[in-house]
């Protein structure tokens, strides 16, 4: 096929016989492509390379506004797509986790019935809005508007995105839809909540006592070592014996470096994880009564 055949109607038909065989250049191309495919060199910063190229391109395209607009749109679309993909992955993971957890609940129930134990209670959440606060030296309470009435004694949680923290307990609830519940905060002088140390739960329970305003105190530690080896930023979690879900963070320790401490025990004091004055929304945790396991009814026997 010569250069002059560019104008011919069928420029390559004359060489149709020769074309059917593989030319050595085609063979080499094929081998190179196969080798590269088998090797698949992973460039660790290929994304970085693309980003750099895009930055260079956007600098160049700064002079051409339409190109710049196109690049910006492209980058935004790409970003949206990546976000959507990652959100979808997160959703799938959450669904899988939920499925695994519901299987674990079933397994838990089966094991409990095997050991003749009652079933685990179920939990329900009611969201509420803080409509009034009364935080003083003699009491620390907030009024919460809820969508429904909740039983007294229910745990109240501050829903922070990173973690949920215990803030108080419902003491009174009035009305229905909407209901107003009075919440006794942990710093109320009448509040006592059992807590354990997050680093060493084996040291046992101490009592987190409210001291008015936003102050807390630690008292009645079961183990003497509980108070002796406190460290700053140590978290106190609600103990399994408290009315809260066990393991909810309730306070953390701060060092009183201002010299106001007289003894070793007072060199650290607990501080609420959330400022109670800034509470806007809370979640009330309602323990639903557990159905008695079949084994319980069998064990109880006929009423005497």
């Amino acid at each position: 096929m010569g250069r002059e055949s560019g104008y011919s109607r069928r420029p390559v038909a004359r060489h149709s016989g020769a074309i059917l065989g593989i030319h050595s250049s085609e063979f080499v191309l094929l081998v190179i492509a196969i080798l590269v495919y088998l090797w698949s060199p992973a460039v660790p910063d290929a994304g970085l390379l693309q980003t750099r190229l895009r930055i260079q391109a956007s600098i160049l395209a700064g002079k051409f506004s339409f190109l710049s607009g196109l690049l910006t749109t492209r980058a935004e679309l790409e970003k949206t797509r990546i976000e959507r993909d990652s959100a979808r992955i997160d959703l799938d993971l959450a669904r899988a986790e939920l499925r695994a957890q519901s299987l674990q609940v079933l397994e838990n129930d089966a094991l409990r019935s095997l050991f003749l134990l009652p079933r685990r209670p179920g939990y329900r959440y009611v969201h509420g809005e803080v409509v009034g606060t009364s935080i003083g030296h003699t009491e620390a309470r907030v009024d919460v508007q809820l969508a429904e009435a909740v039983p007294a004694g229910s745990a109240v949680i501050a829903p922070v995105l990173s973690e949920w923290t215990a803030v108080g307990r419902v003491v009174r609830s009035a009305g229905t839809r909407p209901a107003i519940a009075q919440v006794m905060l942990l710093s109320d002088p009448r509040s006592r909540v059992g807590v354990v140390r997050s680093d060493t739960p084996a040291l046992g329970v101490a009592l987190l006592v409210g001291a008015g305003m936003e102050r807390l105190m630690l008292d009645f530690a079961m183990h003497p070592q509980f108070m002796k080896s406190l460290s700053p930023n140590l978290r106190l979690l609600t103990s399994p014996e408290s009315r809260f879900l066990p393991g909810l963070p309730a306070a953390y320790m701060v060092s009183r470096a201002d010299g106001s401490a007289f003894t070793v025990d007072e060199s650290f004091s607990p501080v609420p994880l959330r400022a109670y004055n800034d509470l806007r929304f809370v979640v009330v945790l309602i323990v639903e009564p557990a159905e008695p396991a079949p084994a319980d009814a069998q064990r109880a026997g006929p009423p005497r």
Binding site: R3, V12, H15, E26, Y37, E78
Partner: protein
């Protein structure tokens, strides 16, 4: 030789530019697959017989560059396969005439994307549905629309 190297560099630069001008959509990336277009043009070029080595590497190097940017190393292999397929078609039909170049292009997309999907699924251990989904890549059909234009330019340049 220097002109040829300059042409390869220019083609690679164009490949990068077209790669940067891509737009991601839910149904796939929309862009001009320049290395695919180049593979077709190199295959139908009248100078192919004179410079078989040069015309082959003229599209392979931009194709490898595109694969490097995409981090998917099956595209070049698929382009080489489609390049060889067009070489065979050249002896059978007039690849420069308008409707035939588009028909050849669509067949080429099927060959290229099926090949790419098969090697991708072989490499990644996914099912062959990948190959079927790869066939619906919109950017390749967009590129096929440029085949008659590229072919006309080639003939005008007597290349």
């Amino acid at each position: 030789m220097i002109r040829y190297l300059a042409a390869v560099l220019a083609a690679t630069a164009l490949q990068v530019v077209f790669h940067l001008l891509s737009i991601s959509t839910p149904s796939g990336v929309i862009r001009v697959e320049f290395s695919f277009l180049l593979a077709f043009l190199c295959a139908v070029s009248s100078r192919r017989a004179e410079h078989p080595w040069k015309s082959g590497f003229l599209f392979l190097i931009p194709a490898l560059t595109g694969d490097l940017l995409d981090q998917r190393w099956g595209g070049s292999l698929a382009h080489v396969i489609s390049f060889m397929a067009v070489r065979r078609a050249c002896g059978l039909v007039d690849v420069h005439s308008f409707p035939m170049s588009v028909v050849i292009g669509v067949i080429l997309v099927l060959i290229d994307r099926l090949g790419f999907g098969i090697v991708l699924s072989l490499k990644s251990g996914m099912d062959m549905g990948v190959a079927l989904r790869a066939v619906w890549d919109p950017s390749y059909y967009l590129t096929v629309a440029l085949f008659p234009l590229g072919s006309a330019v080639l003939r005008r340049m007597k290349w």
